[in-house]
Symmetry: none
Subunit: 415 residues, 2 copies
């Protein structure tokens, strides 16, 4: 089955936001064996949306429409699709009840605009919104399936993962089973990874190998189509082993769990605890760690000592700051060890560096020292991150997480 | 003149990268008065690219095509456009000379694939590439102008700013000036905002009013087209005043600066300092504040006391935690006041609540207490945030930032 993705919203055409829904949906659809052949974006304009929808039905089996399900007048996706398929808009009782409950719980009056969010195209299959108010829906018309999804990624993503993909898989029938597996790498760039696997990538047919890079991490998504899950998993495992034979030293995880999730899991498994002392990252490391459910069992606390004054009052000796500077191996070591002591944790992580855009202490933006205090010693790493202020901070926090994970995985004898 | 943007590249349809060129181009085109009505992305496939190009000539005056100008086999934009306009590909001497010089300077041999990058559609206006090898070009055919640009943003952006916009402005002859203004709101939902301004939005022509919502914030972008900047600014100011007369109490800022930037600016202007004590947000508030350059002058430090143990060792009395719980007005108040004292700041902010997905202390996910300690007193706010764990955390940090800003802006007499 071939799909196309149509994003509705003038904010896209004005360049106010990037269409990140398109890339997310493309990855998700491809993971269940649906090829995406076109992306489009069109403004909040009925005539232009209609013409785009009409053209889509002539070339695609599945038409995913994102955005325009909100309560305001310029939200006209449902109305336009309803006209196109010759149906009325009707209230979906379940969504309406949920809406009502939401407004009652907040002591707010539900306006007519709000009620609009419970309207569906007559006969549509409702896709529940677990993160917002406007429901999504799927409509079968002639040979086309329209899937309408809300625009905000925070609402669209859970709706796709929880409901839309399952609906589409069912619609496609039980033709084949598709499985995919993600291999997660750190400390190896995408081009180097692709070079090492060049022959495998060139020869790929089934399973396929798709590389993807983001913020210092690299991923490979292996996808296989076959007649049974068992057979698929065998193929995926064989390919995984071949890949890991070559670049396994850089692979920190297999599957969905992110770097933070893998690290939290490792902490919990080892009954270890961690604390943090952050300078340039301003709390980002702790924020990422605590984004994982259940962190309260392993994260004992953190401090953000952004200024020298704060570092000193946390316990970094004034002499160290004066002699080596705040951006130094020495300060990183003190911060990590102080955090470990203050919060009484088995491990502690520190980050100090120059986020930029300006230099600091005559050190260039991007220079970061990371301290990892372990039960027996403290390791100091330095990285030179490229990119703007935000990227430097993101990379610093990610590297700190990765070095912590590496330390947690070391055999005791090495420690 | 109306434009559309066509991105060519299978990596877009696989979701490997976001189409950030589309938003960049939309902003740049809109700044010279060109309306963008469609974005599209299509794979490296001649038949599909041809059909998309053909459709575009029927509805747009300007067709911007990005990507597919590189040296490899799957780069086929020039070839496809040449066929469509019935022209040959010929070498552009100047580009060829530059290519040659590049390879000589690097002691590398120029392959036939590399030479491809100097090919242009016969008669095209060449757009020089100051950041890479493949030249861009503009082709006039019947009533359509095709503009072909390289895919990598690092090459596309300078080409657009230095050459493509100037070319298009010249083609359009007499142009108008366009200005826009962003109004930023908090504590008012998009639907309520739009309702309050319903008649203005209904009647909009020039200036236009575009609402946009994200994570608890709402924005209105006012855009005006006219013969002079002076006249435009007058119109924008008049509309802004009309809008703020109605909903001004919710407007925290005008222009590009974000909530964090406005808050940091307010702190610096008032020579005030702030510190933080975060529970459920795990450092997110401090991370957002320190994402702004220059925060070291106003952010004195923060603590992340995620567990009760950490709250107690920070100074929250065990009796308070036992009697009211960690998720309580009382704990929020203690945390804010302790942070203010510990870091010796003029203001301090605390957040404690249930991020979810599970309840805690029999309190529902989304319940958050925010403490704002001021020089003279401490205010406690509570919010009930909807959505998943990450959204609850984001909203908690945003509301904390907003309540801090409100406090900073209060006249002394109220304090």
């Amino acid at each position: 089955m071939n799909a196309e993705i149509i994003a509705v919203g003038s904010e896209l055409l004005l360049g106010q936001i990037d269409n990140t829904n398109a890339s997310f949906l493309s990855r998700e659809l491809s993971s269940i064996g649906i090829n995406v052949f076109y992306h489009q974006a069109v403004g909040d304009n009925e005539a232009r949306l209609t013409s785009v929808l009409q053209a889509s039905t002539e070339r695609s089996d599945i038409v995913i429409v994102t955005g325009g399900l909100g309560p305001t007048k310029d939200d006209l996706t449902k109305e336009t699709v309803a006209k196109l398929v010759n149906k009325e808009l009707v209230y979906d009782n379940e969504t309406y009840t949920r809406l009502e409950a939401f407004f009652i719980s907040r002591n707010r009056t539900m306006t007519d605009n709000n009620k609009k969010q419970a309207l569906i195209v007559e006969g549509a299959h409702v896709l529940q919104n677990d993160a917002g108010l406007a429901c999504g829906m799927a409509i079968k018309h002639n040979d086309t399936i329209f899937v309408l999804l809300p625009g905000p990624p925070s609402e669209l993503k859970p709706m796709v993962k929880s409901y839309a993909l399952a609906f589409l898989q069912k619609e496609m029938g039980q033709q084949h089973v598709i499985e995919s597996l993600i291999l997660r790498f750190f400390e190896i760039g995408e081009s180097r990874l692709v070079e090492e696997l060049d022959d495998l990538i060139e020869a790929q047919t089934n399973p396929t190998i798709a590389p993807l890079a983001s913020d210092g991490e690299c991923m490979l998504r292996l996808t296989v189509k076959g007649s049974s899950t068992h057979e698929n998993m065998q193929k995926l495992d064989a390919l995984k082993d071949t890949i890991l034979d070559r670049v396994g030293e850089y692979c920190y995880g297999v599957g969905e769990p992110t770097l933070e999730e893998v690290t939290v899991n490792e902490l919990l498994t080892k009954s270890a605890t961690v604390s943090s002392a952050e300078s340039l990252t301003g709390g980002l490391f702790a924020e990422q760690l605590t984004s994982v459910t259940g962190t309260s069992k392993c994260f004992k606390g953190g401090t953000i000592c952004y200024t020298n004054e704060a570092k000193e009052s946390f316990g970094v000796p004034a002499s160290v700051l004066a002699e080596y500077g705040a951006i130094s191996e020495q300060t990183a070591q003190h911060l990590a060890e102080l955090a470990k002591k203050t919060y009484d944790s088995t491990y502690a992580v520190s980050m100090t560096g120059v986020a930029g855009p300006d230099s600091s202490e005559n050190k260039q933006p991007g220079l970061v020292y990371i301290g990892i205090a372990t039960p027996s010693t403290t390791h100091i790493y330095s990285i030179q991150a490229g990119g703007n202020r935000q990227r430097v901070r993101v990379l610093a926090a990610k590297y700190a997480m990765y070095y912590l994970l590496k330390e947690l995985r070391k055999k005791k004898v090495d420690d």
